[in-house]
Symmetry: C2
Subunit: 190 residues, 2 copies
DNA sequence: TCTATGATTGAGTACACACTCATTTAAGAC
DNA sequence: GTCTTAAATGAGTGTGTACTCAATCATAGA
């Protein structure tokens, strides 16, 4: 091996892509991403063959990061509701801490540049969380429907909650609390 | 006046934009939109000064259409839950009937080419629906939070529901029913 | 019918972008 | 220290796109 590829550069490119795509959308130029990453444009293409590959990798990376954040500090001992509330809390915390990452995920989620394959792989990160949901859902309004539906509901309610938290920071805590209550009632109430 | 602009052409352009943006995303070329609409590219620019103006108008038009669809056939006599269920039903019906319009709205909603002003104007179409929500929300989990939050929750749950209906049409009715139950519990349960 | 006005056309323009490639640079093997 | 190999560079290339404009055409009003 002559000169190895550097993980640092790869990460710098992904981080730059996050920043620039959050600002400018999926149409953000590779030239800008490279400049922000501190590498030449050509270098970007030695790490990612095409812009689409870069976007798909970024999507996966962020999905994985989010799913890991949700499971962090998840002590086993609590009951289902508490474990879900913790996951919700972590989700919201992550989204508030990294608004660009959240925005990028929203952009990429509706972009047709993300392949079905990538989306499927992204969902796999959430199997553990879906398992957490399963028991809470068993006797509620969603009992007739797969647990991934509850997972999607969790995602969309958390996103909606964070939108309002961001728009009206003074009442952020109210939204976070009410949002979780709404979510719990949605999946667990009969 | 020498030659009047034609509403038919304007509508044809908006319809073509809907179709093409649903297929290709916000980056769809104006040349393609014009061709699908059956007009010359130059004509597109006599009806909409820029592509951004076209996209913003399209967003407004679709938002308005959706809000009107939701209020259709809304007899006064029912109780709050029934009126909301009817609105939900109409929402889902609209989304299933016009999947391209739904997709376009999703694309435009996260695109930074839609101005804040346009988004605000789009929300105004939903004031009547927000009023409907207000009473149902009064004593539930969302009592501490503005009714537009309940409206946003309705939107995101309906979208999630339609995603699953589209992905798994055999159980579409189950999703529609469970989705509304989840929504009602989310906003009205204590 | 004639005329003035503005809609309609589509080839043309200026620019932006994803990706390439000849050249330079640097890391590892010996 | 030398050699080999692949990473790094950035000017260059081809393509695609939003928007323009001179010429043409259709309509409302006289």
């Amino acid at each position: 091996m002559a000169r190895p590829k550097s993980d640092d550069k790869r990460n710098a490119i992904l981080a730059a892509a996050t920043q620039v795509v959050a600002e400018q959308g999926v149409g953000a130029p590779t030239a800008t991403i490279a400049k922000v990453a501190g590498v030449a444009e050509g270098t970007l293409f030695t790490y990612f063959a095409t812009k689409d590959e870069l976007l798909n990798r970024l999507y996966l990376e962020l999905k994985l990061e989010l799913s890991e954040a949700m499971l962090e500090a998840g002590g086993q001992s609590r009951d289902a509701r508490d474990r879900l509330r913790l996951g919700w809390q972590q989700y919201v915390r992550w989204g508030v801490t990294y608004p660009e990452k959240r925005k990028v995920l929203a952009q990429l989620g509706v972009s047709d540049r993300i392949t079905e394959q990538t989306k499927a792989a992204g969902m796999r990160s959430f199997t553990e969380i879906n398992a957490m949901l399963q028991e809470s859902v068993a006797s509620g309004a969603l009992r007739d429907v797969p647990p991934t539906f509850a997972g999607a509901i969790m995602g969309s309610l958390a996103e909606t909650t964070m939108d309002f938290m961001a728009r009206d920071p003074a009442h952020a805590d109210d939204y976070a609390t009410s949002g979780f209550e709404a979510f719990w009632n949605a999946i667990a109430s009969k």
